[in-house]
Symmetry: C2
C-alpha cells in the first residue's frame, strides 16, 4: 500500500467468521482501498490471539500516527471469540447494532476496535423458534443502509441459511435452515460420497436434475431421506444416466436440489408474490434463484460482500 | 463346541454385512447350537479373503467328515463382495431367493456355500423409485416363513430403514429411508455434535422431547433442517432445559425424533389402520413403536435375528 493510499484510509471493516477473516480498508466515501484475509477464524484463536491476527492482515494499512476504527462482525463477537457482544433480542432495528457493540482491550494504540452483536430470537407460540445469527445481521443492516424502510422477506443462503422477515427496516422474525451443512455432510461423508460430485449447474442435464429435485422435495419434504437413498439406487440401476463424472455431476445436482427444495418446502407457504431478496455470493444466489423460480417465485440478488461493508458502515455511522 | 453338539450340526446361517459378519450353527429343527461373529465385513475383504474369514468363525463347528451347507445373506453377495448374487427385480415372492443364490468356488471340501441375492426396484410413474436392498429381504423371508400369505406393511429400522409392502407373501414395493445414517452424521459430525448425546428414552423428559419432535417433523417435514439448527439455538437460549449431560440427552432425543418423524412424514399417508410389522432390534423397534404410537398407529415387533434365521431357513428349504 502506498503512503498516499494509507493517508486516505478512514476505517477498516472486518467479517470474522469461524474459519476465516476478511478485511477491507475503506476511505471516507466507502471506497475499498485494500483487501486482505486469512484462515485465522474464531475456531483457531484464543482471545489473546485476535489482536495479532488482525495486525497480520491490516497492520500494513495503518498510518504512522493517529487511530483507526475497526468495525468487526461475525463470530469474533461470540462468547468463545475475542470478547462477547451479547445477542440483541428481536424485534430490533438494525441501527441498534451500534448500541450492542463492545470494545476489546488492545495493546496497539493505533487501533480502536468494535465488535458487533448478533441477533437472537426466543421461541413463542407462533412460528418463531429459538434461533440465533451472528454475521448475517450485518448484511441485513447493509440492506437497510440502502433501503432504510425495507419490508419483505430476505434469504441469505449458506452453510446455515437464514430467512428474515423485515417490516419498515425492523427485523421481526428469522429462521435458520441447516441446508448447506446438510448437503456437505451428505456429499462428503455419507454412503453417497462416491455417488455425487459438485460440478455446478451449467450442463443442462444437471440443471434439469436440480430443478426436478427442488420441486419433488418442496412438494413432498417427508420423502427427503428416501430420495437421498434413491440417489445411490439410481447410480446402481438407472440406465438413463450418463457414465462416469457426468453421472456424479448429475446426481450431485439432484442432491443439491433435494437439500434446497427441503428448505423451500419449509418456507413455501410464506413466500409472498413480491420478489425475495437474496443476499450472498453470485453462484449460491443463482442456485437459489433457480430453485425459487422453479416454484414460481421471483427474486433479486444483492452482493454479500457489498452488504457486509454497507452494514458495518451503518454501524459506524451510528457511533 | 463338544463333539456331540458338532454331530448335531445340520447347517450354518450367516448374515454378512458391510462391517460385520454374524454366524449361527443350527440343528435340523432350527435350534441354535453355536453363535459367532467378527468385524470382517464386506468393506474389509477381497474375494479371496471370504473363505478364510468364514472358517475363522465357523471352522470349529464343522464335523471331521461330511459337508455342511452355509447359507449367507447380505453384502457378501454384492458385486464388490465374495461373488455377486444379482438383485431379483420386483415384484417377487421371497421363496425365489433360493433360485437367485450363487455358489462361490471353495478350497475347503467341508463347506457348501450359497450367497442369497438382494432385491431391486426400478422407478415407475407411481410411487416406486429406484431402490435396492441386500440383507433385509432375508428378514422379510423370515416373516413369510412364519406367515406364508402375509399381507401388510413392514418396517425394518436401521442405518438405511426399509419399508416394504407385501401382498400374499409377495413383495410389491419398498422404499429406503436414510434415517439412521442421517441421524449419525448430524449427531457425530455436524455443528450439533457437542449439543446432543444419545442416552436413550428412559427419562420421561427425553421421551416427551422425542415424541414432540416426531409429531412436529411428521406434520411439517419441510421444516426439518430448520429444527436441526433450532437444537443448537435452544442449547444457547432455552432456560427450561436441564444442564449438562441431561441437556444433551434431551436434545439428542429430540434429534432422533426429528429424523424418525421426517421418515414417518414420508410414509404417513400410507399407514393403514392395521398394525405395522417392525422387524429389528428391541431398542430401535421400541423407538419406532413409540413414534408410530405418537401418530396414532399400532405396531408389533418381530425379532431381527430370529427373522434372519427363519429367512435363511426358508431359502435352504427351497433348495
Amino acid at each position: 500500500m502506498s503512503d498516499e493510499v494509507r493517508e486516505r484510509l478512514a476505517w477498516v471493516a472486518v467479517d470474522w467468521g469461524s474459519s476465516h477473516l476478511r478485511a477491507w480498508g475503506l476511505d471516507e466515501r466507502g471506497e475499498v482501498l485494500a483487501r486482505g484475509g486469512s484462515d485465522k477464524g474464531m475456531l483457531a484463536l484464543a482471545p489473546e490471539d485476535y489482536e495479532p491476527a488482525l495486525l497480520e492482515t491490516v497492520g500494513d494499512w495503518l498510518p504512522a500516527s493517529g487511530r483507526v476504527a475497526v468495525w468487526i462482525c461475525g463470530m469474533a463477537g461470540a462468547r468463545q471469540g475475542w470478547r462477547e457482544a451479547a445477542y440483541l433480542p428481536l424485534p430490533t432495528r438494525l441501527e441498534e447494532l451500534t448500541r450492542g457493540a463492545v470494545a476489546p482491550s488492545l495493546r496497539d494504540a493505533r487501533l480502536e476496535v468494535r465488535l458487533l452483536p448478533g441477533l437472537c430470537q426466543h421461541a413463542d407460540a407462533a412460528k418463531r423458534g429459538f434461533d440465533v445469527m451472528r454475521g448475517e445481521e450485518t448484511q441485513l443492516a447493509g440492506l437497510v443502509a440502502w433501503e432504510p424502510e425495507f419490508s419483505g422477506l430476505v434469504c441469505l443462503p449458506g452453510t446455515h441459511a437464514k430467512w428474515a422477515w423485515l417490516e419498515g427496516g425492523e427485523v421481526k422474525r428469522f429462521a435458520t435452515y441447516l441446508t448447506g451443512e446438510l448437503y456437505g455432510l451428505l456429499a462428503g461423508q455419507s454412503v453417497l460420497r462416491h455417488t455425487v460430485a459438485d460440478a455446478g449447474l451449467v450442463e443442462s442435464g444437471c440443471r434439469e436434475a436440480f430443478i426436478g429435485a427442488v420441486r419433488e422435495a418442496a412438494d413432498e419434504p417427508g420423502r427427503f431421506s428416501q430420495w437421498l437413498f434413491g440417489l445411490r439406487a439410481a447410480d446402481l440401476l438407472d440406465d438413463s444416466l450418463p457414465a462416469g463424472e457426468a453421472r456424479r455431476a448429475r446426481l450431485g445436482a439432484r442432491l443439491s436440489g433435494l437439500a434446497i427444495g427441503l428448505e423451500l418446502g419449509g418456507v413455501r407457504h410464506e413466500l409472498a408474490s413480491v420478489p425475495i431478496t437474496l443476499i450472498g455470493s453470485e453462484a449460491l444466489c443463482e442456485r437459489y434463484a433457480l430453485a425459487l423460480g422453479a416454484l414460481g417465485h421471483t427474486s433479486r440478488r444483492l452482493d454479500g460482500e457489498a452488504a457486509v461493508l454497507a452494514g458495518l458502515g451503518l454501524a459506524r455511522a451510528g457511533a
